[in-house]
Assembly symmetry: D3
Homo-oligomer: 332 residues x 6
């Protein structure tokens, strides 16, 4: 088992229940999550030693974040306490023909307002992997610089850098994201990036469509950023808000693809990509081969869609049981 | 944007929750709705000036109806207050193989007991469209006469008459409905009617089955009632209580049909037809061409199936976004 | 209408709600059920005179069992009161890709601890059918002997013996079950058994796979145990925890199969097999022919999947309406 | 233990939850109850053989009534099925300073529409007590006549007549009630009546106020109607909707009064008076002396206020344990 | 009936349910409210013509505010749409010994960011009263200036100015509030202010304690600000979070006090003061004398404590019924 | 801040909601707790380093226990995993006149089945206090021996022994408990024991009643067991299940008593005594004087009654704020 540090923002998600809109909701379901926190929780479920670093306000919401992280078996001792507020967002859950809808209310959060490294020097001590994402880079120019600083620090300590591009159109423009990524990616070892990222953010030229095309973009990205030894993402065919098909893809000296999982009905898709990332990192830390990596990660992501909340609540054994038994058979 | 008046009964619906029967229900969900009220609410969401005329008892249930109508942005000032009771019905919600089940408890309601025009003269002042339905005609012979009176009044004021046949087998017989419709339809401009209405209520001869057959019945209806300039209805393929396919059809100097929407899972189908009617009227008031009319209306109806309650809660912009983006993609 | 006695354990099921795991559940849904109790309730809904015999502790949980049984119209006067506890189990409800998960906590229950016939002599007086299951045989060697005693007693009283093998791998081994079944089956008239039972428990040799193979195993079982005049079971194609295909099969001097029902979404599959058994027994008691038997039973089982709880809540008229109308059409 | 028949209307109560008004309620809690049904259920809990006679419509609501009655251990075989509808009412639950509010929707119910004895001759066979109430008399002149017929029939069969005046101001006027009572009370053996009943309905002259005054009115009633051998009612000091003081009073050849129970908080007061009546009848059937009668009945009524629903859910043992232990001490 | 304009911020309140803390809450109850909005809703319930002016963001939360206001019968046409966000706060509901706890997350809201009058000129046209509060003054120096501007405008239009000091210690210091109030109060006609306001904000010297002392402070305030013709506030004795005693006090050429209302249990105290203010303004608009004013307002405030949400949901008739009947008696 | 180890059984509590009985409950609320676990959680909230040692089964229920403990900031690394089952109990929550009711289903649990020390040698390494209770001694004779072994081990390591007698009448007789306590108490430093314990379990002669009598019993216990340096318990006046008065008492070279807290309404009293114990231990670890000890502990216990679940969810700062501010005042 490995030691992993993830660093990023964690927010309070306020969601409607099935069949309600924000305007008809008399209550909101509360979940605390964020890409890096979700990866941390999944990896702890898989048995790794994980630290999640973030900053939360000194109030009940901040304390609840710490309790949630602790409950999951993730080390909360690098969660800073202070600053103005916890970022929030409202999720109008989609169903059938109706897509989910998000209202962000995250500006000015305790984490976003950070402008210099506030963590102690030993944050990355002994870590095998540091996991970061493009969302943090989007929060402020200072955060973009800080990310580079953390990536460099990681390499100094012999720690690999994992990075999920995770582009959010309402946080920054494609141009701004492209500039930042050009500075960040040379420091990255493992990268979650897809075809659209390649074309619109990384300046890879669009190719004529073909079946195996993700492969081509992976190859082009790696040629451009040779430090990246692993690229991965999921392909999602969206039939409706309740029904997707999910296929994992991976580039590691060659292209690998998982079987396609049919997700229907989807309970909660938030965190599905993070579950996939965590599955990839788990595979790397336990020495799986590329095909095993992508199979495990995709199965983990599929299971995530069956539970409420951002966090994937499955152990490695449960993911493996699902891979061998398929879905739906009760053992009793 | 136009001015529309709808007039009809509004009832309290008491529904079970998913997976329960009436006999196992410890609580019932409360929704207030009715065909004409639902059309009013949808049109207000689309930005029109809408008045809903009905009669409710002078108690908390009646006052709640007024609040609900007001909340939706519909003018409640033509809601009369008085009479014995609010009509109610119980809906045992269906799911999968199990069809929904309705128990009506609507006899003797404040609205049904009306036997002469109790509204002030200016009810239809300035209105572009008056929307009525066959359910009102079924309530009593007096109501059938009153409907004709309102239709004539509308035409005197230069207001178009929209009419949804909406046949309910447990309110009256096919013969009684046929007689009433024969008297009502000559006063109608826009009519929601389908193939079964044509054959069993309007006396159109049944034809040999063929793909495009709704078209033939529309044509026959229009030949019989030449005042009707627009006919519309939906075709519904019912796979189960949770899964339908919905196609909108329209006759306006020719036959038009929407793409087919797959509705799965269905959250609440009550009001789906009313959402379709409202979509049609919206299109008419905003000058859409026939194909746009039926496309918009069908999309609006599809979205209705994703929310609890009778009322369609979507703006014209949201319907259009759904038409261009398809379902299920979160924007964030 | 007939008179039926069923005898077996009834347990408290504590289930999670949709999208939750046991670890995230702040409450559990409570249902009281068990194979023989479920058959009893279904048969009472179908209009038969049914007695359910079991033993429950002398506390509120035991009293609740009696109330539930009484509510369903089943005679509770043969429910013994005493002993240490009510057996319980936890069901983490599955959905989509995630299978349901069961934690049994049933050891040492009031029923399981029974070691001699504690019921009065007239338990089977006037009964047409006595329904038992292999779960009871698995509880203890004493229970296995007692079952044989009850079966013999039934035949003395001119009462047919119905037996559902209902193998549970975590109650006993295949070898132990096989030994017990070899002693029990010679006393059985109607038997629910499937292909896997035949191969792994009854020592029937596995055959090369073919479409109609269940038929072959039925025939082989009947050759081995000629007293069995009726064999039945369902074939279930499991697409996911939410979507199955269900086909009923029957052997009664020949092989019969129902149409295939698509179950989607499944609300609660616990008790689906018991609903099928009850449908079979109902058909026998009302003189249906084999094809009618299997059609009715499969339709009853399909409807069961649309309601929460172990018990099938449908009357014979409702099952028949579903068979003729199909699913999903509201009558109003 | 005795045999009791109660006859009266049972309705569906639709209640708001704590802190909501009807206008803000998105759901209503469903309880089925009525004075005579509530007395029946209490007496069954106390171990008596009880039959409840009523009439319910032939739909799911009617069937649910039968199941609820059966569950409670009351014989439902005298529940007639047919007629137009189940009476309903809406209860806006009170709390603190805010009183509860009732909207009746009970006109035209299956029970109210009865105009001649529809029950078989053996309804009262072997009964010790027939329990009726003034609410039934208020439903129609026919019902008033029918009640007299039932009372006479009871006496012919050697069965005592219990009658709860239970005056409801919105069902009939004091004058009408007074006329009816003058005809009914000569046939009554046990009567629930209070001071206000005496003054406003029974024509007893109001006296100057004094502490023991209920006694005086009881005496006056009995002098007027010497057939009445037992009179009883509760005195209720209402501090708020959540806090009452309850004292039971009784006249049986002398005046008896219970200790005063402080009820705070009150969960649901509907059915409190019926629990008191059932306690009195239980005492009569088990040969308690007058002081024991009133003490037991008042304790039973107090406990009723701690549970949701009309029905008192306590056994005689539980009532007695409460009388000896007082409230609030957990045994573990 | 009068015409009233209220202007202020409206926020989304996210509350825990009874017995939960923020850290244990899996969902939050959503209520939309604010002092001036609450006053507007109460006055509309009392039958007045009321406009509420505020600014909300152009998203679902903003639209929900408009629907809520419209539902209550308040004119929403002066609600501006735009700006960054809707202010929110979290309320950990108190009970018994545990006080409620508030976490504000209101900085940078669409309303707070307003820095010049964005409303059309006719906002106050025809208004009898303009109601404002000190919370708005606390939001920014610009808002303080704007309030003075609105007050002057009101007086130009012959409209009275009502002002609730409503000091919030976590929005500004006592010194800052004191400075602002010194500039605002000369423009005020009706003022809600209490003893603590007088001493700590208005610079009135503290006096030796005595029973009738609020009277003295009212007199001193009025001497200092002679334009104020009416002063009012409530005295609250807090026994616990669930139990208060509430007494209304009023100065209008003399001191008046209501009876004391015992509030127990308290469902939701947020908005209690606003209900009192609305009661005062209702009395002024309907010509009540001072004693009637304070009695009505206190009764209205008492009822508010029995319902969830900020808004008082009672009509003038209901308040008066409560005043004459007292609490807790059901009429049926 | 200190280091504390607590060791004992933790169970799943399944509770009804307010106003329901077990027989009417369709769901049960799930809480995981036990005396020693509750003390551990409270102490962690107060800032101490706490380890909780127990044994749970290797299934989802056991894993949930570990997550709950971890969430609270208690070290779960001494929770053994294995054995047959998690002990459970059903709590029918009391309210008003109705006392709570408990059904235990704890026999044969993983913890109870332990018969020798299964923990590693370093369990008590560096601990200041080991907290145990009489419930563990009641589970089996082996557990009684093991407790003595742990007490001796603690003293060898310089660790104080805290012991809560916590007599449960349905686990063992007074005689058996008395024998065990006679062997255990000589090893105890801090002891929670009350007057009834003294008389019925410890053989202290009953004295004539007087106000300060708890003091006398404390003195007698200490004379009998001179190793005990601190004795404490609460006095509870039970007005109803919803209303108690709570006073803390303490003996430490003299008698100390807290002010009396009125608890009304009580949300959940389970764990109230454990919150008191934790408050005492917190005071000892932070050097409070006896009066401060008992005041803090009683305030902590009072707050516990305002939250659902066994665990006290308050920090030392929150307890102190409650002590200085009293209850019910919102800060905003």
């Amino acid at each position: 088992m490995g030691k992993v540090v993830t660093l990023g923002e964690i927010m309070l998600r306020l969601s409607t229940t099935v069949g309600e809109r924000i305007s008809t909701s008399r209550s909101f379901q509360a979940h605390y999550g964020g890409g890096e926190a979700n990866v941390a929780v999944s990896l702890a479920n898989f048995g790794h030693q994980v630290t999640f670093a973030t900053k939360v306000p000194d109030n009940s919401l901040g304390m609840t974040v710490i309790q949630q992280i602790r409950r999951a078996g993730v080390d909360p001792s690098s969660i800073l306490v202070g600053g103005p507020r916890l970022g929030t967002y409202y999720l109008e859950a989609g169903i059938g023909s109706r897509a989910a809808k998000v209202i962000y209310d995250r500006a000015g959060s305790s984490f976003a307002e950070i402008c210099k490294n506030e963590w102690p020097d030993d944050l990355l001590e002994g870590a095998d992997i540091l996991h970061l994402s493009g969302i943090t880079a989007a929060l402020s120019p200072q955060w973009c610089e800080l990310l580079i600083e953390f990536m460099q620090l990681a390499h100094q300590k012999g720690c690999k850098v994992s990075f999920d591009i995770n582009y959010r159109g309402n946080l920054w423009s494609q141009a701004a994201a492209g500039d930042a990524l050009a500075r960040l990616l040379p420091h990255v070892d493992y990268c979650s990036a897809g075809k659209l990222d390649a074309i619109y953010l990384l300046g890879i030229e669009e190719r004529a469509s073909s079946d195996g095309e993700v492969m081509d973009y992976y190859q082009a990205i790696q040629e451009k950023y040779p430090s990246i030894e692993l690229l991965y993402s999921t392909k999602r065919v969206v039939h409706s808000a309740s029904s997707h098909e999910l296929t994992g893809t991976l580039w590691q000296n060659g292209y690998y693809e998982s079987v396609t999982h049919r997700l229907n009905p989807i309970v909660d898709r938030v965190g599905g990509g993070d579950a996939f990332s965590a599955g990839i990192l788990h595979g790397l830390l336990t020495g799986k081969n590329p095909q095993e990596l992508v199979d495990f990660a995709t199965a983990a992501a599929a299971l995530k869609h069956t539970v409420h909340g951002d966090a994937n609540l499955f152990t490695a054994q449960e993911v493996e049981a699902y891979m061998s038994n398929g879905s739906g058979v009760i053992s009793r």
